[in-house]
């Protein structure tokens, strides 16, 4: 049965690094799980917790927030703020019963197509292992 379950992932990718990284994965013809729906954002620092909550509310199995590596933010410090925010949000969601594995933060640069593909693959596998969220 587990094979048939395909988790749905929403990915918020920063325009400058991770979106380009995903693009790199595509143009390099790397294959990765088709479970992710990508939303391009200007910066990982733009990702409001509301956006993440809204995804979970509407039945998403996992949310990926991905931005430039610390130190490389196009806006200098957006991802530092994102890091604090999602460290806390992940703990909090886990406490509310949305397992911490369901919110993933990864730093992916424009040249890391491989890392992006691997991230999606491993996230998908991990979510498949967790199974569907009970209430959706």
């Amino acid at each position: 049965m587990k094979l048939e379950y395909q988790p749905k992932i929403v990915g918020f990718l920063c325009n400058w690094c991770s979106y380009a990284g995903a693009d790199m994965a595509g143009t390099s013809r790397m294959s990765y799980a088709p479970n992710i729906r990508i939303i391009r954002v200007p910066c990982s620092g733009r990702v409001d917790p509301l956006l993440v909550l809204k995804c979970f509310q509407r039945g998403t199995d996992g949310v990926l927030v991905s931005g430039c590596h610390p130190g490389d933010c196009h806006y200098n410090e957006g991802n530092y703020h994102a890091r604090r925010r999602f460290a806390l949000l992940r703990d909090f969601l886990d406490y509310l019963g949305i397992a911490r594995e369901r919110l993933r933060v990864e730093w992916v640069s424009a040249s890391e197509g491989q890392k992006f593909a691997e991230t999606v693959a491993s996230f998908t596998a991990e979510l498949a292992e967790l199974g569907p969220r009970s209430e959706s």
Binding site: P49, L50, K54, Q57, P70, A87, L96, G97, W107, S134
Partner: protein, 288 residues
Amino acid sequence: MDSELIHQIGNQARDLLESGTVKGVIGYERASDGLTARPFFAYEPAAVERLIFDETCSYNLVKYLLDKKDEKMAVVVKPCDSRTINLLLNEEQIKRDMVFIIGVTCPGVVETSWNHKGQTLQARCQTCQLSKPLVYDFLAEHEPVERLEGELYLDIQEMETRPVTVRRAFWLEQFERCIRCYACRQVCPGCYCPECFAEQLDPLWMGIRIAPKENELWQTIRTFHLAGRCVGCNECERVCPVDIPLSLLNRKLEKEVKELFAFQAGLNPEELPPFATFKKEEKLGFEE
């Protein structure tokens, strides 16, 4: 009821009103049950006769300063409430010179509801670390107050050890009861957005349905917006008409913020709150 304390508060309030230093004094008076306290606004010197102070004065009156920004007000502030003053100063919601703080030492307050006065101190008082307000212009004090040392987060830790599915079920059950009366927001001194996300129509974050999913979104984001800002006055939990254990949410974030960022809201009006700053070297559990 400590009549000496009331005497000191009353005298100070009368002086302030008679001299015209302040437009009004925000304090406590006896509620209509003749037993508990309620907030009271004294605008005339004669009205200070109605001021009281006792173990039923759990209200955090600092919230009211947000409605009175244009006029200088005096406010009665317990040690715990003084953290709210610092919070609002830090966030530039109040001006120090527009507030006269009548600090008061406090032996703790009990759980109250209309016509009911509890016997034991509120949980937050049992672990209160403050013997007097952090900031005040006048201090009404009588007997020295002893501080108790207690374990702050036993209930949170207990919740953390439950399986994630059990926590899920627990919280959904709590949120199902929510009727979205917004009393938790209205009473909260940290909730002062001119337009709350809950009422925003464009973008529409929260649907009109008063139903578990919307309620969960409400309570989750409400709490998260107070991360590193909640001063633990616990007024939200006190006013909740359907007994949602909101302190289990607020104090979870308080605990995490303390552990992750070594920060506690309202202790210092100058210190940057955790989401206004960062440390380049911190990893916070995310691989680089």
